[in-house]
């Protein structure tokens, strides 16, 4: 079975408050980097998946992203299908 590697980036929707990002931005100022005007914390999720072909992998990863990795009410996600590491089993 071919093996695919993907990276899913999950970020808070712009309208959602990110207290962790704000606290981290304030800490940046205390470290002496005062020019940080915006800092938002998201998640980068590495996924390795076996699927019969690239289209199926893409479809399953989109399903995962939408239903599990991100909550579309408050989060946006992007999917990057990086490579097809292994050949057919």
């Amino acid at each position: 079975m071919p093996h695919f590697h993907a990276r899913v980036q999950v970020s808070l929707r712009p309208s959602v408050l990110d207290p962790a990002g704000e606290a981290t931005r304030a800490a940046a100022g205390r470290l002496g980097v005062s020019g940080v005007t915006r800092l938002r914390i998201g998640k980068a999720i590495e996924v390795e998946i076996e699927a019969p072909d690239k289209a199926t992998a893409q479809q399953q990863l989109e399903f995962l992203s939408e239903r599990l990795l991100a909550n579309p009410v408050i989060e946006n996600w992007t999917l990057d299908l990086i490579d097809t590491a292994g050949g057919p089993a």
Binding site: P19, A20, A23, T24, A26, A27, R30, L31, I41
Partner: protein, 217 residues
């Protein structure tokens, strides 16, 4: 003699530490708000447990930049006694006063229970009241207490006698069963268990009392 207790937004053991020091030992204390920078007149400083700044980013990562900690770093550098309990230990590692990091417990659960420990005081001034190899029990209450450090550095810490508290039934996957670490000078101690919650027989034993009583000199 007054003991400073640092209070971050999100600290939740600051009052317990005050009770243990004042109520159980009769030692006066002063709360140090995280924005303060005056340690004048203090004999020792305690960084209590809790969730400083919500533990955003990593445990202790934001607290590290609190103005009061610059002074605590200077105070420790001059040999002043500094104790970090639980979140306070995490802050000490982020601050670089102790090596390594505390990560998510291996079992993924928050663990809250009495834990058997072995004490190896060495030159740690906080543990002078314990025998070498003494078995004690202190409560732990943490989700991120798994001590991690590079293998060679861990060996070095062990050789230096800086691993002053070890779990005898490792509850969180800590490398080397590390429950508490001291700096080479012996004045800075960080530990995940809560000695301040073990200072009265009525509420869970007295095994922590001698640690804080070391301040009585």
């Amino acid at each position: 003699m007054t003991i400073g207790i640092v209070v971050f937004p999100g600290s939740n053991c600051d009052r317990d530490v005050r009770w243990a020091l004042e109520g159980c030992l009769g030692l006066p204390t002063r709360f140090l708000w995280h924005e303060e920078s005056d340690l004048q007149g203090l004999e020792a400083v305690v960084l209590p447990g809790g969730f400083s700044y919500g533990d955003y980013l990593r445990c202790g990562a934001i607290a590290r930049f609190a103005p009061v900690l610059e002074e605590v770093r200077r105070f420790a550098g001059e040999g002043g006694p500094v104790l970090g309990v639980c979140n306070g230990f995490q802050v000490l590692t982020e601050l670089g006063l102790l090596p390594g990091a505390l990560t998510r417990n291996i079992g993924l659960h928050f663990v809250c229970e009495p834990t058997p420990l072995e004490v190896h005081p060495g030159s740690c001034r906080w543990l002078a009241g314990y025998q070498s190899g003494e078995a004690i029990s202190l409560p732990i209450a943490h989700g991120e207490g798994r001590y991690q450090v590079q293998e060679d550095l861990l060996r070095q810490l062990e050789e230096n006698g800086q691993v002053v508290l070890r779990y005898t039934a490792n509850p969180n996957g800590s490398m080397g069963d590390v429950a508490g670490l001291c700096n080479p000078r012996g004045n800075v101690l960080g530990l995940m268990p809560h000695p301040e919650r073990a200072c009265e027989s009525l509420t869970g034993g007295e095994d922590g009392l001698r640690l804080l009583a070391s301040l009585l000199g």
